[in-house]
Symmetry: C3
Subunit: 366 residues, 3 copies
């Protein structure tokens, strides 16, 4: 019955230059979490005997460019709240759960990642780099408050993690596992409004893998749904080269009420993201990655944007990596219905329609 | 002069169902901290030689259903601020102190628990379970901001812990110890307003015990006092069975000013809580607890409410426990003067007067 | 490539009495961080081989009198925001960086201390005690939001640490080292507004030392600069006695816009702080310190204030120290232009011009 507790994290900082901001200007910034989202946390496990374990994990986002920790979530009972920031704040916004695991699988209760993260995340073309502007994270993973803030248990902010949720992950049998998760809307008199429900299946042979997930989130009225499918495949064709493919699609089903601006979600909005990527291991230390994302929106407005990323990673060790990346984003037009799909890379002044971004950074995991 | 530092905590999550909410509805939620309040902290001790030690403890509340950490306290100079939330926030809201201990006892300075916690807490009928709705915690322990927010050094939010306080605990002599604590109101020109002063005595033979405490808190004007007595006895009548008894009484002495609503504290308000409980150890792992609380209010409005709780705990280990509980709360009537004494279990729509709650949860301490 | 992670901190609490507050009243308070600023943090280092190391440090302010952690910074695009508090909050407000070190020196990226801290801090007359009212910390170190909040990358709150910054510290060669640091203003179209740039040189023979630093911070318009020089020398004349001398001067260069009140910074404001101190080691455990600070303001208003401090420290161990101090502060007059330079020690009611403060505290480092 001994327990071990680990304080761990990732501190990742990069200098980035982007052109074609509003007014055609350039911008130089320092940002946290460009190779992997910076975080810190506490986790532990206790062996209860007979294969049974008690586990917990507390983990929060770390904006190590300013020292800010945690993130906001909604929590107000606004009908819709499409805002990245929330009125409530959560220090351990990424994970905050306790649970049991054993031969039956694992059950966790608290704030959990939605199942799409573990499925599309498995095969993300750039392994979840540039998470803030990565279409798989922001759009398929429902991390963009501006696009998905009003649905699910958080009632604002990111939908990528869900408050008040119970998650079950089955054991792996012949490489296959399944998972189910439910988040309580916590409203008196009914179970539907502000709830989350998800299912996922995964296969892996240790190197290659495939995953598929489904999520359904309700708005605070219970009348409108956000549904999402996500899937991914990764396959090592030769020892040096891993190919990755992802597909994600989500839909707002129902009438959100009053017409909203073009940059906000709308009735029957559909977003589809296709991702393609390849990792090429030049040496044990140097890996080159090429990634492509295609984002399309329909149902409310027809919009599209593409991202092309080249990424070089040099691993000093398993825990420390220097990296450089070049991103080219191109929207279907300079209209907001297109440029907002580039998730902030392109200036949204109605004039710009493409932008190039360079990043140079270092990641250390502890 | 070696120092050890420990990161520790409790992560406790439960699914709860309660009927008779406003409108007669049911509600299903996931809540943190139902067997013991979830928390995380850092503590340490340094041996200075000759029996002298330097000690510190930082500890904060953990809402592991959302990942939120810490709690708010008042801090504004409002005359009275009967609000659970505060304008200021404290990450280490439960404990934040540094001190010395030795043959003379222990002195700690910073944010301390009031002395009532350690006295009535010793014998709480359900060992401080369901803290959010436990009359001993919320009312005797002054944890309810809505009832006690305006008094003491915090000037809002819970009064259970006091900012700017010095605490002294004597050594145990023949099983007896005493404690005294003072919290600075920090107002120029006087020492009374917003201050806290408390005294406590405790006896224990290692198994059985008794404790008595007194607290006096001033409002920000210095004209109104909140005084509280609390006492508890626990006694193991047979090896399998521990009996527990608590009594707590507090009084607002003086005129708070303008009349306030029935759900707020008022001039000369008195609250008395009587608790009775028994733990029965079925086996090393399984413990059954029965608890009863009687809450009465007078002086401003005559109100009352009762709670009956059955609780089963199954200990996987010393650190990990699964539990189930059933609570029946019954107010004197459906009026707010009665139902508010049930601390949120019963819907306060003026129609409901009783409610039943079931909870199923798991606690892991690390 | 092993990594070690340390959770560390300082918990320092003191009871303080100050006379001559507004209205001539006395005030008794408990405050955190009077010998050294209370803090907690996580740091670690990984050996990458060949002398190369990866390092990180996350550290935040700890108000252990209330349990509050972290600090606010600005972040709004207000033209000037001379406020100690900020709209954004940073849990790891003191340090939040990742970097590499080796034969070339050390590079860190994130939120860093400005270089003046490490130079004038080396020789501060009372070794950075009473940081909240220490002229070297508040004025030379730019920690006073009320005096310096609008400049640099934080855009409000303290300027002592800078968001979005890259810092380089050279190796020591024959006792000499240099450092340079740049903080990104992160504004599209230009690199000047809200930026920080600094240079420093340091010499040490292990016991004695000298340091000199320069900083230039821009306001959010880019039109107004805050420039600061700081230097310090410490010299052990006999084994028992260390002398300390500091000089710091900063200037606002340019027109801040609309006239502001006398208590706010203003066009062409200049502040000079001279510090003199001596540590006398009575024994291995007991150290007596005498310190004197002279603060002068010109350019906008002519003001001045002096502080005289006597400080006794008794070290129970390397990690635990009890202390007592007596401070006498005297302003040039009772006008705000003078008394505000005493940084809150003297009541600012336009009547008081001097005050005496006594502090009794304990510090424990873990």
């Amino acid at each position: 019955a001994q327990s071990n507790v680990t304080v761990y994290g990732i501190v990742d900082a990069a200098v980035m230059y982007t052109n074609n901001q509003a007014g055609g200007t350039n911008k130089a910034v320092m940002e946290a979490g460009q190779l992997l989202t910076s975080r810190w946390g506490i986790k532990g496990s206790e062996d209860l005997g007979g294969g049974l374990k008690a586990n917990f994990n507390l983990e929060g986002t770390l904006a190590n460019d300013t020292g800010a920790a945690g993130a906001g979530f909604g929590g107000s009972n606004l009908t819709q709240n499409f805002s990245q920031a929330g009125n409530n704040s959560s220090l351990f916004d990424r994970l905050s759960w306790v649970g049991l695991s054993g031969a039956f699988g694992a059950v966790t209760m608290g704030r959990n990642n939605i199942l799409g993260v573990d499925s599309v995340g498995l095969a993300d073309p750039m392994s979840l780099a540039h998470a803030g502007t990565n279409p798989n994270v922001a759009l398929v993973g429902l991390n963009s408050g501006a696009f998905f803030g009003g649905f699910g248990t958080n009632q604002g902010g990111t939908a990528l993690r869900q408050n008040n949720s119970v998650k079950y992950v089955s054991p792996f049998i012949s490489g296959f596992a399944g998972a189910a998760m439910y988040g309580f809307g916590e409203k008196a008199g009914e179970m539907s409004s502000s709830s989350y429900a998800g299912l996922a299946g995964i296969f892996t042979d240790g190197t290659n893998g495939a995953a598929l997930s489904f999520a359904k989130l309700k708005d605070p009225t219970g009348n409108v749904s956000l549904s999402g499918w996500a899937g991914g495949i990764k396959y090592k064709i030769v020892p040096s080269t891993m190919l990755r493919f992802t597909y994600g699609h989500n839909t707002i089903e129902g009438k959100l009420g009053a017409p909203v601006a073009v940059t906000s979600p709308n009735d029957n909005r559909k977003i589809t993201v296709i991702g393609l990527g390849a990792d090429y291991a030049v040496s044990d230390q140097l890996t080159l990655t090429g990634a492509y994302y295609n984002t399309k929106r329909s149902g409310d407005f027809d919009g599209k944007a593409d991202q092309y990323i080249g990424l070089a990673k040099y691993a000093f060790s398993k825990r420390t990596t220097a990296y450089a990346s070049l991103t080219y984003a191109k929207a279907g037009s300079s209209a907001l219905k297109d440029t907002t799909l580039a998730l902030g890379i392109i200036g949204t002044d109605g004039v710009q329609s493409k932008a190039t971004r360079a990043a140079f950074g270092i990641l250390h995991a502890f």
